[in-house]
């Protein structure tokens, strides 16, 4: 019984982490069809900004929830204006350029901070279930994942910006003829996606090893989850995160954590084969 509880918490942890990791990517890929291969580095920058802020005395909650998204959001803004902006419609070039960007960012951080950096302790402490220990932080992550899903939903559905952004996503030419500055929408959307990703990096900082190359562990997982989720930014990300989180943690429990990763990847590939449009291509059609 305790084992089930612990396993459930692990699944929740896996799904919540995935969800947070992918939401920003889903926004960018889903809204703008840009494959940002520097996504992992945005996560890494979120983690680094949190850690650096904490080391300079900033409260950890502020560092995670304010500093990280703000910093990475600004980075995203800069990247969009200086790079992405020239690559809309050039799919392969945007992949190559963002790959170059990812190498560049890794190199930059390594140059500034070296190969390792001290982390931050996991806040909130733990509790006991039977013979096992669990972490309150898992519950916190789950809560944050749900909160972010909710906030993005509210933003896209109930604000003017959200409406305009969705219009631009569906038909940029038409939106432009209605007087929308599509260029600014793209810029804002990319910055938003980056900020959300930065937040994920910040939230995951206490539970990850923080190195300049930590991003590479996330980029494939994030993409495969977004692709598996399909076109619906929220429904797709949420459903794919839950499904893959479940598969990952179950497999890790039954075998080893490494094989857990492998089985997640294999499961994702099989899913894409069966549902080429992703989960939300078949279910949750037409939702956000």
């Amino acid at each position: 019984m305790d084992k089930v509880a612990i396993l459930t918490l692990n699944v929740v942890d896996g799904a919540a982490s995935l969800c947070l990791l992918c939401l920003g990517l889903a926004i960018i890929f889903g809204m703008m069809r840009i494959i940002n291969l520097a996504h992992g580095e945005f996560v890494m920058l979120g983690a680094y900004s949190t850690v650096v802020a904490v080391h300079h005395g900033v409260n950890i909650w502020i560092a995670m929830i304010v500093v990280a998204p703000l910093f990475v959001g600004l980075v995203g803004l800069l990247v969009e204006r200086t790079l992405i902006r020239f690559l809309y419609g050039r799919l392969v070039d945007s992949m190559l350029a963002t790959w170059g960007l990812s190498l560049f960012i890794v190199g930059l951080i390594t140059t500034i901070f070296g190969n390792t950096i001290d982390g931050v302790p996991t806040p909130l402490g733990g509790f006991v279930i039977g013979d096992y220990r669990a972490s309150w932080y898992t519950i916190f992550l789950a809560g944050m994942a749900l909160l972010m899903l909710g906030l993005v939903y509210l933003l896209l559905s109930y604000t003017r910006f959200g409406l305009v952004a969705r219009a631009v996503m569906q038909n940029p030419g038409m939106a432009a003829t209605l007087g929308v500055d599509t260029s600014r929408i793209y810029m804002t959307t990319f910055a938003l996606g980056a900020a959300v990703t930065g937040l994920a990096g910040g939230l995951l900082a206490p539970v990850s090893g923080i190195t300049p190359v930590m991003g590479s562990a996330y980029v494939a997982k994030a993409f495969i989850t977004v692709v598996g989720g399909g076109a619906a930014i929220l429904a797709g990300t949420a459903s794919a995160s839950v499904l893959f989180g479940l598969v990952n943690q179950m497999a890790a429990y039954l075998t080893t954590p490494v094989y857990g990763e492998v089985i997640l990847f294999v499961a994702a590939i099989v899913l894409i084969r069966l549902l080429p449009q992703g989960i939300s291509g078949r279910f949750f059609k037409g939702t956000l």
Partner: protein, 347 residues
């Protein structure tokens, strides 16, 4: 007339290259010879992706999967057979079979081109994770222990065909590698002017029209993919022979990104460009590695960014365009625009 001249010039170039490969040991120090042996092995890898991407239109981000499988297959087979000759065969066969299965899954599964890159990247990461975790005595194939994150040290290097007692010297190893590169280059060149090669290019040019003419694009892409995998596998064997070592980093993201950079810098859509790009970047990385001022990721990232933004066609096509432009001016054609290299026919 111009065609015949070009053909003649190319034949001369090939013969000259062959002579250069054979004579290099007489001219170069062993250290430099070893260096160009590595460059040549990696150039074969570069050609494999150059072919499937530049001519076949298949953007595979995980060509290292086949490279690594070839390397490991060679290592395991060399240890278990005690002879490098069948091991090289395995290095080609195993990745080719893997490409067949994966390719079937991708091309016959109507997975879009966009996702192909993500999926192949994921595959190479899967292999990295799997092989990385094979430390321990229980992970072995025959007598060959996979070694996990430490890799497999002391892999037997090439010997004379079917004569395990006769190990190749570094000079001979260079010649094998150099001629392998030349051979693969010629093979691809010939393939691309053959009917099959022309169909491969047509499918890339306009898949719909190719299908409407009766060609099955899935079949064409599958076999292009398999050939690319086989060549990458051969490169794997050549690479492992060079270092007498293979480890999980052969599957890593870092290696995978290198190949993409070589081709982007050298010029997509040509065979020579990716070779030039490979040698240039490899040389650059070696030089950076030996100094402390700049991080190699930083430089490589900046190079890739620069090429994509400023020289999107790559160094070789841009240079050759410039050279042609220069020739035209000299001949007095008076400011004819440089050819944009749109012709997909083999250069």
């Amino acid at each position: 007339m111009a065609g015949k001249l070009a053909l003649g010039a190319q034949a001369v170039a090939v013969v000259a290259a062959g002579v250069a490969v054979a004579m290099a040991p007489n001219v170069l120090e062993t250290f430099d010879l070893m260096q160009i042996t590595l460059f040549a092995a990696m150039s074969v890898l570069s050609l494999s992706l150059a072919f499937i991407w530049g001519y076949g239109g298949i953007l595979c981000f995980g060509q290292t999967a086949f490279f690594g499988l070839g390397g490991y297959a060679y290592a395991v087979a060399a240890i278990d057979y005690g002879d490098s000759t069948p091991a090289i065969g395995m290095a080609i066969l195993v990745p080719a079979l893997f490409a067949l299965v994966l390719g079937y899954f991708i091309f016959y599964g109507r997975i879009s081109d966009v996702y192909l890159g993500v999926i192949t990247l994921t595959v190479t990461l899967i292999l990295f994770n799997v092989v990385n975790s094979t430390s321990g005595e229980e992970y072995h194939i025959g007598q060959a222990r996979l070694g996990g994150f430490n890799g497999m040290p002391s892999v037997p290097t090439f010997n004379m065909p079917f004569d395990p007692s006769n190990i190749l010297s570094p000079e001979a190893a260079w010649q094998v590698t150099g001629f392998a590169l030349l051979g693969v280059y010629l093979l691809l060149r010939i393939l691309l002017v053959s009917p099959w090669g022309r169909v491969v290019v047509a499918v890339r040019e306009n898949e719909t029209r190719a299908a409407l003419l009766g060609y099955d694009p899935r079949f064409v892409k599958l076999w292009t993919f398999v050939l690319g995998g086989a060549i990458a596998g051969l490169a794997g064997a050549l690479y492992v022979n060079w270092g007498a070592f293979v480890g999980p980093t052969i599957f890593s993201l870092a290696t995978a990104s290198q190949i993409i950079i070589w081709i982007t810098v050298g010029g997509l859509g040509t065979l020579l460009g990716p070779i030039v790009g490979c040698v240039l970047i490899q040389y650059l990385v070696t030089k950076i590695g030996s100094q402390q001022a700049f991080n190699s990721n930083l430089v490589l990232g900046a190079v890739l960014l620069g090429v994509v933004l400023l020289l999107p066609k790559g160094v070789v096509p841009s240079l050759s365009g410039l050279v042609q432009f220069g020739f035209n001016r000299l001949r007095g054609d008076g400011g004819v625009a440089a050819p944009t290299g749109q012709a997909a026919e083999a250069k």
